[in-house]
Point group: C2
Chain length 346, copies 2
Amino acid sequence: MPSNKGVIFKAIPDGYPVIGEHIELVTREIDIKNFPLADGDILIKNQYLSLDPYMRSRMRDPHVESYVDAFKLGKVLEGHGIGTVVKSNNKKYQVGDHYHGFIGWEEYTHIPENAISGDEGLEKEISKSELPKSHFLGLLGMPGFTAYIGLNKIGKPKKGETIFISAASGAVGQVVGQIAKIKGLCVIGTAGDDSKIKYLVNELKFDGAFNYKTCNTDEELTKLCPNGIDIYFDSVGGETLDIVLGHLNTNARVVACGMISQYNTKNPYGVKNLMNVVTKRLLIQGFIVLDHYHEMEPFQKEMREWLKQGKLKYKDDIVEGIQNAPEAFLNILTGKNFGKAVVKIC
Amino acid sequence: MPSNKGVIFKAIPDGYPVIGEHIELVTREIDIKNFPLADGDILIKNQYLSLDPYMRSRMRDPHVESYVDAFKLGKVLEGHGIGTVVKSNNKKYQVGDHYHGFIGWEEYTHIPENAISGDEGLEKEISKSELPKSHFLGLLGMPGFTAYIGLNKIGKPKKGETIFISAASGAVGQVVGQIAKIKGLCVIGTAGDDSKIKYLVNELKFDGAFNYKTCNTDEELTKLCPNGIDIYFDSVGGETLDIVLGHLNTNARVVACGMISQYNTKNPYGVKNLMNVVTKRLLIQGFIVLDHYHEMEPFQKEMREWLKQGKLKYKDDIVEGIQNAPEAFLNILTGKNFGKAVVKIC
């Protein structure tokens, strides 16, 4: 029988999840031929699994409400993924069709009819597209859409303005920076590794970038943003946000996309420079991309046009095998990934 | 010769200004008859001076840029005020006319033509109105307009929502609460004195209020806002803001009007609960009422209508004599005032 290795949620972490203690690989088998499917159900052979920082917030006590449900203890972790249908009791899906939606961190996922979240438009695209399939989990998937919505709806970029992007070589940051370049902004980014900085400047043509681990953020911003910052696309929060507040211009916007520096601590950083919000009429706004899925069409259209014109690049960070998913996920939380983290399952 | 006592800016304070050290009363005289006026200038006998928290931010190093100029060392402090013209070289102003604009903290102010900031519409209103003149510095002046703009443009109140207001019996807070009541919101406020709490509940008909000095803010908000908070009208910042962040609903708005808890310290409070901005899609927005003066007309119209209908009350806290202005100003910073602080100069 084929194996169906998976990663389960074993215990709630306080800080960084520990492999074996909080998330654990389990070895199982699956009998595809005799696998029981109720009316409307499908069985998916998973190909690609997207790993994203927000997953850390699902590793919590289920009594704490949030915008997305907590993972269930003892059950397989979930995420966006791409697979092919290997068994179907659902009229919409034939064996061999692509599935693009929520899957488990496992080799095969059984999806009951009421849990099918597949995006039909994207599934057809995946089948006929020449792009790497992983791009549909990154550049053209949730992270790319997050960049597009956050930048346009909250950032409201205007030609000639300066944008600063943290986690700039990450799944979202690299898209934000390239769209901002297309729109005529001065684009400055930060990341935690010199190879990432080279990528931002040489490949993505950022106007400036620095390694926050080896440079002084305050000094670099003074140097690289002499006219101040109009938009801060924030994926890290904490001390970086605190420093940036002092460099923002009047009427600047902070796109609060994530705060990864605060996900693995019980002692959050205290942000001291909020007085700038009043004196500089700042806007700080959070958003959840799930609220905007009805606006997917203009995103897909505009991104494909830019892709065709050669205006967009995208770096995926692909690890092979579901058994490597736990470590790859930890690498996101510590910034060791380089580009959009994707697990190639088969 | 008539006296022209005034209060000068003597030195830049780090924390709370000290009378005699940072701001000081000086005794002077004025020869009105022989007072030299250039073409276009006017001389005002001051009647009412508005004292407002933002003045603390003007007591700074002039090299630090902000939305309003620093006070000039050695010169008389400034503020919004009402006076009557006693000498005029300006066609627009006759002796005896009212002046409503920036004046000095002094008995008489010489206003050069290029510094005349009088609001002609309001000046005519003041002359014919039966309302207390002080109301034109509070309810119908800058603080009332601040309440109106902040609540409507950033708070975007909807019937049935819950609003929480800090410094709720202050110049701005009492207007915010009453407009919110008119619009059908559940209105909860906080202030630092039991007599203020009684006023909020008994006179202004707030749905709930508590003394933050004697109660636990977190517990009171849990009790008084069982459905969470949709709008936080923030004039204090710091720890209160931090606690409120935990009580905000999804898509809540924080109207960042002021942060008085942070004006007199070099060690600002570190706000730890900003993760809520992302998970609850919060909006935190600062504003400066000066940016909105072109929108004064609907404010004046709507407020007068509500006043006529008996829907608005307003508590002024009037001290007599310019010599008492320094202490009255310190009372604002420490929360000892009760209502809108105004100095009746003559």
